[in-house]
């Protein structure tokens, strides 16, 4: 790991450990849990869009697959939760592969609409054939491991953010590796990648699967936390929310995805008073950040810090 990444990672771990200790309020920790769940989806989309340059407006579909499959398996088939979660990830991976093979030949707008269409199809399936139909179903067991159920909010907070840390570590390693470089190369030029002997299609499919697996994991964790799910949590709007997290945080930086996820999750809590306005506020945030802060929070901060440092050096 590079020096900067290592430092960020240590600060990150410290924050995770400290937050529940500092803030005793269950409410804050709950918001923290949802931020972490969203962060998992956002990290996946960040790798897919920011690094490999492939658009997806269908992440809600994989998120929904994760939530429904692991809930159904644990409630109806009585499988241990960890097994259900893993099964859901496998289903999401297969779905992603089936979608990716034809879809990733498409570019730009066409890929965006194709993934959007996929997400909507999953949404319709959940509505029509999901247990409970549009009203959803409940009594989903809390997450547990080896007979020990995590019931407390703080426990769940540590579980979620612990997983975010693991996923983040995996993703940072991936991005900084040769494979990560190859992904960024695809973003720049398909033709040159071919001339370098890179299997562009395979790379694209794999990165798509990776983002789907992250989203599925997040969906499962969501379901086993709230214990009640309905299709409305997995609509197109969720895909757009994730898109927003990635853009607001900074599409070219994995930390941006995490910070974006926290910001976009905390935001509606702050805006509770303007309930009628939330869609509008989301829209404005997305529009304005696209127009004026295209780089996103984290890359802009990094630039500012660099400038400050140069300034300090110059002063000496």
């Amino acid at each position: 790991m590079k020096k900067g990444d290592l430092l960020s990672f240590l600060i990150f771990i410290l924050l995770i450990i400290l937050l529940p200790v500092i803030s005793g309020s269950t409410y804050t920790i709950t918001v923290g849990i949802f931020s972490g769940i969203n962060a998992l989806v956002a990290i996946g989309l960040c790798i897919l869009m920011g690094y490999a340059g492939q658009v997806s407006l269908g992440q809600a579909g994989f998120y929904g697959i994760g939530a429904y499959i692991s809930s159904i398996l644990s409630v109806h088939a009585g499988l241990p939760i960890v097994i259900s979660v893993i099964c859901a990830m496998i289903v999401a991976a297969v779905a992603a592969m089936i979608l990716a093979v034809p879809a990733l030949r498409l570019k730009g707008h066409y890929l965006a609409v194709a993934t959007l269409g996929f997400g909507e199809i999953i949404y319709i399936i959940l509505n029509e054939w999901g247990p409970g139909g549009p009203s959803g179903f409940g009594d989903i067991p809390h997450f547990g491991l080896l007979g020990y159920t995590i019931g407390s909010t703080t426990g769940y907070f540590y579980l979620i953010w612990g997983l975010v840390a693991v996923v983040m570590l995996f993703s940072i390693n991936l991005i900084n590796s040769g494979t990560g470089r190859a992904l960024r190369a695809i973003h720049d030029s398909d033709m040159a990648c071919n001339a370098m002997g890179l299997n562009v299609t395979a790379l694209k499919i794999k990165v798509f699967i990776l983002s789907a697996v992250y989203a599925s994991l997040a969906g499962s964790l969501y379901a086993h936390y709230v214990t009640f799910i309905s299709p409305s949590s997995f609509s197109l709007f969720y895909s757009i929310l994730v898109l927003m997290m990635v853009i607001v945080g900074g599409i070219t930086n994995l930390w941006g995805a995490v910070i974006g996820a926290v910001v976009i999750t905390v935001l509606p809590e702050l805006l509770r008073r303007f309930e009628e306005l939330d869609v509008l506020v989301y829209g404005l945030i997305l529009t304005l950040s696209l127009m004026f802060f295209r780089k996103g929070i984290v890359p802009i901060l990094i630039e500012k810090i660099k400038k400050l440092r140069e300034f300090a050096v110059a002063k000496h």
Binding site: M49, G53, V55, L57, P102, A103, R105, L106, K107, G108, H109, Y110, A112, V113, A114, L116, G117, F118, E120, I121, I124, I125, N127, E128, L236, I240, L243, I247, E276, L277, D278, V279, L280, V281, Y282, G283, L284, L286, T287, L290, M291, R294
Partner: protein, 295 residues
Amino acid sequence: MLTVFLQFLFSGLTVGAVYALVGIGFNITYNATSIINLAQGEFVVIGGLMMWFFAESLKLPFLVSVAFTIISAGIVGLLMERLTIKPLKNPDLLLMIMITIAVSIVLRGILMFAFGKDPYVYPSFTEGEPLSIYGAIIQQQTLWVIGITGFCIILLFFFFKKTMVGKAMLACAVNPTAAKLVGINVSRMVMLSFVLSAVVGAIGGMAITPISLMEYDKGPMLAVKGFCAAIMGGLGTNRGAVIGGFIIGILESMTAGYIHSGLKDAVALIILLLILFFKPAGIFVSKAMHQLRKF
């Protein structure tokens, strides 16, 4: 048997006409700018809801309401282009895709704030006995929808073929640099394309609302179906969008009628994916012609 079939057919043609208009809206902006405006569906919603506002809430006369609705949609299109599309400096494709999505959410947010989440409806344009063909009932409004769509198509055809402005807009699409060189104001043409596509969408919304109601969040699905109609005939060709719109409308209403109403949206989506995966150039378009189009 026949009666039921015809009934489904007519309702399919009605919604299909609106999809065709949305598809044409996509084409207009795509042709002038290569942008696929994913806020296209919101224009339809604006048409329906503003018409309700003028005609039902303010109780303005019918034609005045129509005029005001068209003007407001035009203004929305204009503002969208001037405030969000024009200021972008060297946008990449990713940004272009996302900005129109962002605008669609803003529009949806405004509509939700202004109109709430309830569906709206107003009476048909004309009152009168429905027609009956082999027992199948055709509401007068259905005829209005199809008639208005046809009228729009003919008008647009003449606009692009016969008027200077229309030709200039097409020129921008083919080669913006060359268009600029021969003195066409490209920036104005881009703006005009957004205004025009907004108006076309709003007209569809105005016409369909008495039949299928209108609510603030119908936009995305309308956009997806309209896009599906547009690519079926090859993006950019209005004739294709019209045929595509009717095909989707009819298949959708047959599915809803014969199979299950919850699946009607799935049909359009599956068709969309099949076209994108197997014939992204469009079903009615030859490969050679497709290669000539820029992507």
